[in-house]
């Protein structure tokens, strides 16, 4: 039986090096392209008819738009409108990578820490730049909670700085760990089904339940990543 971790292997499809950097097209790259193609098709084909009364696909496309627009409006405020396309892209990318990865024989892009960390780093660096550009030196007051007595500063400031720096780590680890653990577990139970033969019905039932759970987790983690991004953006725009 193959290792449950085998599914996470990066397989090179077309090897390529540019200036000493390995830019090979891998199974991960393939599924990134599949995801962005699926997202674009889902949205563009969905609203193709521009119907006054939307059909099923158009409703879904409109729903995703309004869901993220509402999320940005409620959690970031009016100033967040400019970042709506980025947050929408982020949500759709993670959502589609997560859910496409649940189809058997596919690869889950977001089950790799480097991918989730890169996404979290974009958010972290972007939010920090936005905060400093908007508030200048005042932005550093973010590390000292308003109303706290001044003599608490030596204790509070390091804690705040640390928790701020921990953001990209927690953000990326949460998504990566959820994806990896879920897929590993599915693979382990799938192995039991084969190994137990006729008695494999029992782990099969668990497998189906797990699969449903993983479907929820896939959507939920995309949502969590997005809403945390919104909250960080809110902090950068409004401080505290």
């Amino acid at each position: 039986m193959a290792s449950p971790l085998q599914q996470f292997e990066i397989k090179t499809i077309a090897s390529a090096h540019v200036g000493g950097v390995n830019v090979s097209f891998t199974n991960s790259s393939l599924f990134m392209l599949i995801a962005i193609t699926a997202i674009t098709a889902f949205l563009v084909i969905g609203v193709r008819k521009r119907a006054m009364v939307p059909g099923r696909m158009q409703s879904l496309a409109e729903l995703s738009y309004e869901f993220i627009a509402g999320l940005v409006r409620d959690n970031v405020g009016h100033a967040g409108r400019a970042y709506f396309p980025f947050i929408f892209t982020l949500f759709m990318f993670i959502l589609f990578c997560n859910t496409i990865g649940l189809i058997p024989y596919t690869f889950t892009v977001t089950s790799h820490i480097i991918v989730t960390f890169a996404l979290a780093a974009i958010v972290f660096i972007g939010v920090t730049i936005i905060g400093i550009a908007r508030h200048g030196m005042k932005w550093f007051s973010y590390f000292f909670p308003p109303g706290a007595p001044l003599y608490m500063a030596p204790l509070l400031v390091p804690i705040e700085v640390l928790s701020y720096l921990a953001r990209p780590v927690t953000l990326s680890l949460r998504l990566f760990a959820n994806m990896m653990a879920g897929h590993t577990m599915l693979k382990v139970f799938a192995g039991f089904v084969i190994a137990l033969g006729l008695f494999g019905v029992a782990p099969l039932v668990i497998l189906i339940a797990l699969y449903m759970l993983e479907l929820i987790v896939a959507v939920l983690q995309a949502f969590v990543f997005t809403i945390l991004t919104c909250l960080y953006l809110h902090d950068a725009l409004h401080l505290h």
Partner: protein, 163 residues
């Protein structure tokens, strides 16, 4: 654990950057404006329809008011017409009544006159009759023959004395 294979990081990062940028451009330039357009169009259409409905409602209210006013006016005109008709009828009835009354009164007067005449005639005759009776009675009872004129004057005198 394949996730810790540092050699695989470079191609993943490169392709993540490529796909994410492409997706961002597709979303920001193509998909999102289209969806926003559809949503905006729908909300505009809905607002238009609501505005039109409001206008129609106002029109209906105005029409109802006009109808109400017309009805009230018609009612008051009918009332006036009725009053006038009643007055005319009353005047005519009064005139007729007066005329009938006058006719009746003149008839009553005529009848009274006739009665008075008859009465005077009867009274005038009564003296004659009395004289005749007295003359006949005197002839039968006393065998006296009194001439008519004397009897008459005697009866007249008696009547006058009694009166």
């Amino acid at each position: 654990m394949p996730q810790l294979d540092v050699a695989s990081y470079a191609p993943q990062l490169v392709w993540l950057a490529i796909s994410f940028v492409i997706l961002y451009l597709l979303m920001a330039r193509v998909a999102l404006p289209r969806i926003a357009g559809v949503l905006e169009e729908r909300s505009k259409r809905r607002e238009d329809n609501l505005a039109r409905a409001e206008e129609h409602e106002r029109d209906a209210a105005a029409t109802a008011q006009a109808y109400e006013a017309a009805l009230a006016e018609a009612r008051s005109r009918a009332q006036a017409e009725l009053g006038k008709a009643q007055e005319t009828a009353k005047a005519r009835a009064d005139a007729e009544l007066a005329r009938v009354d006058a006719t009746l009164q003149s008839r009553v007067r005529e009848a009274e006159d006739a009665i008075a005449q008859a009465r005077t005639a009867a009274l005038a005759d009564a003296a004659g009759i009395a004289a005749e009776i007295a003359r006949l009675a005197a002839h039968k009872l006393a065998g006296l023959s009194i001439d008519e004129a004397a009897a008459r004057s005697a009866a007249d005198a008696a009547t006058r004395a009694r009166a």
